[in-house]
């Protein structure tokens, strides 16, 4: 925070402006996805499918590698990695879907509470 804060009269110091410039320079700019949760969900679904495909292909490779235990072991390792990628994808999808849902939920809650309070105040005023 600023060492030279806005005074009680609200005077904005040049130091505050300089601090603002510093803060802006440090801002992390992602380049702008209009809907980051949707993008996250899409990545999650993509990773889940990718991991699943890797796991299936590796599993079939392992079954086909009848003559070489090492090849079968490698394929099984790849299958486990595929399952891991799928799990990561599921976690990313759940996380982003929940964030998206909770964002709408809290906005709805705020608006509903505001509307209820307004109704209550109107009712109280009408009673007077």
């Amino acid at each position: 925070m600023s060492d030279e804060p806005t005074g009680a009269d609200g005077t904005m110091s040049s130091a505050r402006l300089a601090q603002f410039e510093d803060e802006v320079a440090k801002l992390k700019v992602t380049g702008g996805g209009a809907n980051p949760e949707r993008l996250g969900s899409q990545w999650g679904i993509g990773l889940t499918i990718l991991g699943f495909v890797i796991a299936i292909i590796s599993w079939w490779s392992a079954l086909d590698a009848k003559d070489s235990a090492i090849t079968a072991l490698r394929a099984e390792i790849f299958a486990i990695i595929g399952i891991g990628i799928s799990l990561v994808g599921i976690v990313i999808w759940v996380r982003n879907s929940l964030t998206r849902y909770l964002r709408y939920w809290i906005i709805r809650l705020v608006y509903e509470q505001r509307e209820q309070t307004d109704q209550l105040i109107r009712a109280l005023r009408d009673e007077k």
Binding site: M1, S2, P5, T6, A8, D9, G10, T11, M12, R16, L17, Q19, F20, E21, E23, V24, A25, L27, K28, V29, T30, G31, G32, G33, A34, V110, Q113, R114, T117, D118, L120, I121
Partner: protein, 251 residues
């Protein structure tokens, strides 16, 4: 049609504007509301954005506060491209929006609402002290539930909460909405004092007479475009034509 003013103080040309929107197109989902907005706000300046309902004024503020990411064009703060920056990051840096409809928590008390401003790192005590110094009436009602206060007092609370965060750029959306003229005058006295302190303010209003007296420059928005910008005296003359034009277009 867009219009960016390049007049003003000589130092205004040397230093980049505190806020610049360059050819911004933005909207909700696939529907664009802004169709190429060019707007500059210099440090210490008060810019009034006027226009009828549905002109895109609030959407412009939503873009400036990072809540809506432009579909094309760019947003710059102090010359740095911050297009796509998160709204919370912009708020922490010093961009503060007072939304239309006040945006307070009606079920919380005045003090609890002010506590919400501690996200910037200011101490709760400092925030209360600053808020009550600027708005003594809030001090008298510190334990009152915010939703039970009058509309003017709620707007004061929204302003106090915004100012307590020491913003460098203040965005105000329709301060006068739903308030009696005498309350609006009182609130604009506060805005006048804030503006005199050198804070950069972008303020949106539907009705001009309250705001043109304190703005350094003004602009008229219509159908998602910034049609005219200039000194308030010039804009006042063009405003009626713009509104009537809007009505004719609408009909």
């Amino acid at each position: 049609m867009t219009a960016v003013e390049t007049n003003g103080a000589a130092d205004g040309a040397a230093t980049p504007p505190i806020l610049q929107l360059a050819a911004v197109r933005a909207g909700y989902g696939r529907i664009d509301v802004l169709h190429g907005i060019d707007l500059e706000l210099r440090a210490g300046e008060v810019f009034a954005l006027l226009g009828p309902n549905g002109a895109g004024k609030s959407t412009t503020l939503a873009v400036a506060s990072g809540q809506i990411v432009p579909s094309s064009g760019g947003m710059f703060l102090c010359g740095r491209d911050v297009t796509g920056a998160a709204p919370d990051a912009l708020a922490r840096a010093g961009v503060c929006l007072i939304p239309e409809g006040r945006g307070i928590f009606p079920n919380l008390t005045v003090s609890e609402n002010l506590r919400m401003a501690t996200y910037t790192g200011h101490s709760y005590h400092d925030i209360l002290e600053l808020a009550f110094a600027q708005f003594p009436r809030l001090g008298e009602r510190r334990k009152q539930t915010a939703g039970t206060m009058s509309g003017g007092e709620q707007q004061m609370l929204a302003m106090a909460r915004a100012l307590a965060t020491e913003p460098a750029l203040l965005l105000i959306d329709e301060l006068s909405m739903g308030l009696a003229p005498i309350i609006v005058d009182e609130l604009y006295d506060h805005v006048r004092r804030i503006a005199a302190s050198g804070l950069s303010i972008l303020i949106v209003e539907q009705f001009a007479h309250e705001i043109l007296g304190l703005a350094d420059r003004a602009g008229i928005m219509l159908h998602g475009r910034l049609l005219h910008t200039g000194p308030p005296a010039n804009i006042a003359g063009e405003l009626t034509d713009a509104y009537l034009g809007a009505d004719h277009t609408a009909s």
